[in-house]
Symmetry: C2
Subunit: 338 residues, 2 copies
DNA sequence: CCTCCTTGTGGAATCGATTACACGGAATTG
DNA sequence: CAATTCCGTGTAATCGATTCCACAAGGAGG
């Protein structure tokens, strides 16, 4: 693989001149530029990004640490992040934490070692040491979807979706269809989205004169299995819920499995709804009512904020809003007969 | 961020000694080692991977270029690749080609610029210039799932799944359930998996005394929309097929949409099956019969082969086999009554 | 006791780029 | 016509590591 000095030799100039041509510095005579470009083409020369990074102290790469690649919400997020970054001339290096704090830490460390220009994180747990170290070291950093409070991380901008209004709409929808015993499968208490969705759900219930008993709050971990486990507990109660809201799509899937395994039907016996809408929800039996996040916009906003930080501009937190998409999993839509 | 010279100063030794401690070179006196390690801990020093890469000419990073992140098959593959690579001490940088040749080229170029140690590709098209350049430049390279013949790429090991036997099993299954007019939604002719799956399907039909008419071959592009389009054409034929086999999961989804949009039912009016099994197929209405690839093993084998190449050992092509997973989308399973 | 080898350490070259500074020659100005 | 500015280019320092070579001190062997 040719280096800059090979190009210089072939073009009969110094490496400095080659570098100037490559970074189109103004003061290079047109014919010299021509000669250099010809040499570059002849040799198929491509600048070594590693060397360039060492010298300029920037890699033009962003790190993205997500909680679970197998979750369609996150892969859609990853895709939009990559698109947005590419438009701005950055690459994205993805790390999958698999909802495991130690893996999350591994990726943050690796990304820092590789000196990525900025870090986009959707944190799995409360506050990992590496993230604090990164923040303290002044690495540009932005949280997406979930975030962490305290631990010196309060200055980190957050790009997220506010689901309160949509959750209220969902509760109204369930109420209108006659459901009164509502339950929620929440995410881990350590995650902000875990707590926030429960709070919003509880307030919405109160608005309709209902209470959310502790029996009807089950803690999951955003994975399908936990959804199944919590649902099993719900259905074993003396007064099982007649509607279950899962705080993410995978747990909804687990819930559906459990309901079906007991020979019950959705929505006739138990209504089901999920946070995070994904294409597959259209094709399940029945199609699942969900709260959709504007994933593309989320990824775009997160990259914009992070790149602002990286390039020395101030960045702001962004909150987008989610919306309810009603399908058949909570009962027949209004206006139609069963 | 502290550099090696800061550690050296604090420990009262030279940078050479610090480097020796870090790479645990034998000839360092225990107490010196101790002092260096203490300095490292005090400063929270982490070696700069960029500088190290420049000097050693290896990045300990592998590039993975996949055709479509939104396709669950590929995200599962990406996950297993990352797992396997991490175990061997490598990072993975993922590029999503989105089934677009020019994006694929962009990613190959970017990864080469970053001097990744090896390249894992599931090619989108016939033979892109950058890939040939990479192969010519001697970059270790392995194809996964799909591959390219000719163009100087014949030496590149291929890690893939052979679906012939499973496709034969599928045709037998369809035949047993009374289906005789079978159709296939194939992938792009430029991809090997596209052609291979059609060939296997055709031979299997012949085995059962059936012929695959050209009317019953529709070309898709591995995306949901194309599945829908092709299915629309099938259903508009004077003699529409009574079973449709989609060569990947997204096209199967599109097919299902179209069938349902016309008020037809799966499997009563049209049977449906797909290549690539994914968790969601359990939850669709009806659950979809599919041919499952051993995705985890595929990713693992691909990384093993690539790392062998990277570390100077010879690597071999690997072919695993797929298996049929029958569900209800082709008709009631044998032995049960409708 | 002198030589030779081993062990632990430091100095300096190196990887491939970028960029501050210097310099020669041409062009501009008074 | 001399002085000054500007333009295009080259030399060399630099980024942060690794590693070859040199060298000093200490131990072993004759």
């Amino acid at each position: 693989m040719p280096a800059i000095k090979d190009v210089a030799r072939r073009a009969g100039v110094s490496v400095a001149t080659v570098s100037r041509v490559l970074n189109d510095h103004p003061s290079v005579r047109p014919d010299t530029r021509e000669r250099v470009l010809a040499a570059v083409a002849d040799l198929g020369y491509r600048p070594n990004a590693v060397a360039r990074s060492l010298r300029t102290d920037q890699t033009r790469a962003l790190g993205l640490v997500i909680s679970d690649v197998l979750n369609p919400f996150f892969t859609e997020l990853a895709r939009s992040v990559e698109d947005a970054a590419r438009e701005l001339g950055y690459s994205v290096v993805i790390g999958n934490a698999d909802e495991r704090p130690e893996l999350q830490d591994h990726h943050v460390r690796t990304l820092m070692d590789r000196r990525i220009d900025g870090l986009l994180i959707s944190p799995t747990d409360g506050g990992s040491p590496m993230m604090q170290a990164a923040a303290r070291a002044g690495t540009p950093m932005v949280f997406v979807d979930r975030w962490i409070e305290g631990a010196g991380l309060d200055e980190v901008p957050v790009v997220r979706t506010d689901g309160r209004a949509a959750i209220r709409d969902l509760v109204a929808h369930l109420y209108a269809l006659g459901h009164r015993r509502l339950a929620i499968i929440s995410g881990p208490a350590a995650t902000t989205t875990g707590r926030e969705r429960v709070d919003a759900f509880r307030s919405a219930l109160r608005e309709f004169g209902l209470v959310l008993s502790n029996d009807h709050i089950g803690q999951g971990d955003f994975q399908a299995d936990s959804g199944r486990r919590v649902t099993a507990r719900f259905l074993g109660l003396p007064h099982p819920p007649d509607a279950v809201f899962a705080a993410d799509n995978l747990m909804a899937l687990g819930a559906m499995d459990e309901i079906r395994a007991r020979g019950l039907r959705v929505p006739d016996d138990v209504a089901l709804a999920a946070f995070d809408d994904i294409p597959w929800f259209l094709h399940t039996d029945p199609p699942i009512t969900a709260i959709a996040q504007p994933t593309g916009a989320l990824g775009h906003a997160a990259v914009t904020a992070l790149v602002d930080l990286v390039e020395g501009r101030p960045a702001e937190s962004v909150t987008l809003s989610a919306r309810l998409v009603t399908r058949r999993s909570c009962g027949e839509p209004e206006g139609s007969t069963p």
